[in-house]
């Protein structure tokens, strides 16, 4: 067992009540597994960063046979004068991105097997659950051990995730498996989308990253609207279900002021009216499915519901489906972008529905591959070419749900207005047929 470096700065991070990654790294470094020295030298490298306030990792090219991406290569830049590594066992410290089960469900056996498969094949033993794209990050492999570690995980049933200009690992919320707000089989939608485009994940050939994320309702626990090029959000289009008896019991218990201040007046479209008899009337046509009233009332239900009953105070409707919002991303290069509504509603029940969303995603990826500039995200491409060109490119019709307001600039050529108006009426007729 090798002696640990002196790490006075990192030692400070072992104090305090929150679990410490430094304690974990030290445990790995003090062990006898093959990757222990790598963990020790990573600690040495990190302590150097804490002293000099500089990072010491550079990228490169490391992959596994058959794939072009999925490994994050890191080579140590801290070198002695003769060019040898200052922390030789951490000369290479690559990360394998492994796709987790949708919804991030694990068994204890799976967790243990993953730990064993990683360290028994020479990995450092440091695992992030999970990275910002959702991957299981096996942190600490050399070029030599990368292939062996991957083979073992791959034989076990796990696959590499995406890195670079590729379809990335996706994320879906806990949704249907444990949430009453769920409007769709989130985990099935995610697997449909990601698994249909594995070639574009494993062999990066897109202009830049392409992310799918799925949230079961507009609470958007997966941050789809700001982090996914292709965000799927569950919703419904019929009425909120109201249990008036429970609602009245809640008003009687919590008081009208509480209900007005915390529920009805927080409705963003003023669609709720608290009646004189303490019942509630909801203008469902104006409900925008924001989730607030459901979020407040669901945790109160248990106080008023009779044993054996399962109808809560308020519940989502029955005519469920998804909306698709495209083009969300963070800063680079033109600044933050929210995704924009591209499909206001789509049923997601049958095999045909799932095929339809897969086809649409295929259209989007093809259009993106052909039309985006290098290092340009979907949202930036849409901003550059205009959303109308994008919609025409992927074969979708315009819809007033796509805008916050109609245009304010009159600098536009409108000589095909009549044809476009005809299209609107034809599409409406087709939709209602």
């Amino acid at each position: 067992m090798a002696e640990l470096y002196n790490t006075p700065n990192l030692d400070e991070l072992e104090n305090g009540p929150w679990p410490s990654f430094v304690t974990g790294l030290k445990r790995l470094a003090s062990d006898s597994h093959a990757g222990a020295e790598m963990a020790r030298d990573v600690l040495g490298t990190l302590e150097t960063s804490y002293v000099t306030k500089k990072g010491y990792w550079k990228g490169g090219t490391v992959g596994v046979i058959g794939y072009g991406g999925g490994i994050i290569p890191r080579f140590n830049e801290l070198k002695n004068e003769d060019g040898t590594y200052k922390f030789p066992a951490a000369g290479e410290f690559h990360t394998l991105r492994i796709q987790p089960p949708a919804g991030m469900h694990y068994t204890s056996t799976l967790l243990r097997d993953m730990c064993d498969m990683f360290v028994d094949n020479g990995g450092s033993g440091l695992i992030a659950l999970h990275g910002q794209s959702g991957d299981i990050m096996l942190q600490g492999a050399t070029e030599e051990t990368t292939q062996t570690i991957f083979n073992t995980f791959n034989d076990y049933g796990f696959d590499l995730g995406g890195a670079g200009p590729a379809v990335r690992t996706g994320m879906s919320c806990v949704g249907a498996s444990r949430c009453e707000m769920s409007n769709v089989n989130e985990q099935a939608v995610l697997r449909t989308l990601v698994n249909a485009f594995l070639d574009d994940m494993h062999r990066p050939a897109l202009p830049y990253k392409m992310k799918f994320k799925v949230s079961g309702c507009a609470n958007d626990c997966m941050n789809t609207v700001q982090r996914a090029d292709f965000a799927v959000i569950g919703t419904w289009r019929d009425d909120i279900k109201v249990n008036q008896d429970l609602w009245k019991a809640m008003v009687a218990d919590k008081g009208r002021s509480y209900v007005i201040d915390n529920i009805t007046s927080r409705c963003p479209t003023s669609a709720m009216t608290l009646n004189e008899d303490d019942s509630i009337t909801i203008d469902n046509k104006n409900c925008v499915k924001c989730m607030h009233c459901l979020n407040v009332t669901s945790p109160l239900t248990h106080k008023y519901i009779a044993k054996g009953d399962v109808e809560p105070i308020l519940a989502t409707g029955d005519d469920k489906g998804v909306m698709i919002i495209m083009g969300g991303k963070r800063t680079l290069k033109i600044g933050d972008l929210f995704g924009s509504v591209i499909v206001p509603f789509m049923k997601m029940d049958t095999a045909d529905d799932f095929e339809a969303i897969e086809d649409l995603a295929g259209e989007v990826i093809d259009f993106f591959a052909e039309n985006a500039l290098e290092h340009e995200r979907t949202g930036e491409m849409i901003e550059r070419i205009g959303v109308v060109n994008f919609l025409e490119g992927i074969g979708l019709n315009v819809d007033p749900n796509m805008v916050n307001s109609t245009r304010t600039s009159s600098y536009v050529r409108m000589d095909t207005w009549d044809e476009e108006a005809v299209k609107w009426f034809e599409n409406k007729a087709e939709a209602s047929a």
Binding site: F21, G24, R74, F118, N154, G157, H292, V310, I313, H375
Partner: protein, 357 residues
């Protein structure tokens, strides 16, 4: 002849049903309502009248295999061998028997995993890789997060905030950490320092020129060698040139500072999703504990906790009281840097007579 290499099995994203707690599997899509018996615990009831209790605990995110095996042992002892992770690296144990909740909490606490992060609490900070593994980090991520979560530990284990507080940390302005009610991102304040001897050998120059969002980079010749130069008046110090061209060093141990942003929200509840906005900057990048950052974060949280109404997320609170009040209540300085001069900035200016006196 050499043996043919093993080709990968492109199995993609695994089916979670096989790893899901049986109560969740049986009631998939059938949940009716939930309540929160105490901070860190969710109790869901299904339309089949089955119940499941979820106990959530925090982790360090970057975990060693011993920690993960410990989590697995606890799952075996109390939760039928099942766990799941949240996107903020918390662990959730599901139990179908309410009597197991308290012993499970005791075991997690004993093992050093704080129980909390549900409801109106400050939950685990989602973050990037920082000095541990990133190739362009201006600061660490795991270390700042550990320091802050030590200080906010009680806000994790309690539910005393007006609404949930999601925090994020990013080790550069590319901001892989994402949007947050409070986001801590390092801000480079000086243009890149160029090593002209290396540029021609290392960088694909047109790619670097194209990457710059303000067209501040142009080809140049220095000492007879092709290289790049930066118009420092135009440069916004974003660091986008550094990944494709490491000889354009952006990280600066002294001049890279930490900036705080607030009011980011992904949820559509009540108000539409919002981006986080700048509130403080020029905080020193001061490992190993970043005390100056912790002080500003705690100040903002304490003012929000006192002043916001129930259910108001941080951005919604500021929208109600107005930005002048925010700066007054927090004592933070308002500077010219708070006023956006980037693309589309006019939309962020006040064009109304709505002023509070």
């Amino acid at each position: 002849m050499a043996e043919a290499p093993r080709m990968p099995i492109e199995s993609g994203c695994p089916d979670p049903i096989q790893y899901m707690h049986p109560t969740m599997r049986r009631n998939y899509g059938q949940w009716a309502y939930h309540d929160r018996p105490r901070p860190g615990v969710l109790h869901h009831t299904s339309k089949n009248n089955e119940e499941v209790w979820t106990v959530r605990c925090g982790t360090a995110r970057q975990m060693d295999v011993y920690t993960i095996r410990k989590l697995a042992d606890i799952a075996d002892e109390f939760a039928d061998g099942f766990v799941r992770f949240t996107m903020r690296s918390n662990v959730e144990y599901m139990v179908a028997d309410g009597a197991k909740v308290e012993p499970l909490i005791a075991a997690l606490t004993e093992a050093g995993f704080p129980v909390g992060g549900t409801g109106p609490s400050v939950t685990m900070i989602s973050h990037t890789q920082g000095w541990l593994h990133c190739d362009i980090p201006g600061t660490d991520a795991s270390g700042i997060v550990k320091s802050l979560m030590d200080e906010l530990h009680e806000e994790f284990t309690r539910e005393e905030m007006p609404n949930r507080v999601h925090m994020t940390t990013s080790c550069c302005q590319i901001n892989c950490g994402g949007q947050g009610d409070i986001a801590l991102n390092i801000q480079h304040t000086k243009p890149p320092k160029i090593n002209h001897d290396l540029v021609a050998n290392v960088c694909e120059r047109p790619t670097v020129v194209a990457r710059c969002p303000v067209a501040a980079i142009r080809p140049a010749m220095v000492n007879g060698k092709p290289t790049l130069e930066v118009d420092e008046k135009k440069c916004i110090c974003c660091g986008a040139c550094f990944p494709p061209c490491p000889p354009m060093q952006i990280n600066d141990p002294e001049h890279s500072k930490i900036a705080l942003w607030i009011g980011g929200k992904n949820s559509n509840a009540r108000s539409k999703p919002s981006f986080h906005k700048l509130v403080a900057s020029n905080l020193p990048n001061n490992p190993p504990r970043w005390p100056e950052v912790g002080a500003v974060v705690k100040n903002i949280l304490s003012v929000y906790k006192d002043d916001a109404r129930d259910w108001e997320r941080m951005g919604e609170w500021v929208d109600r009281i107005g930005w002048p009040s925010f700066f007054e209540k927090t004592g933070l300085p308002f500077t010219k840097f708070h006023i956006n001069d980037w693309k589309g900035a006019r939309h962020e200016l006040n064009s109304s007579a709505h002023i509070r006196f």
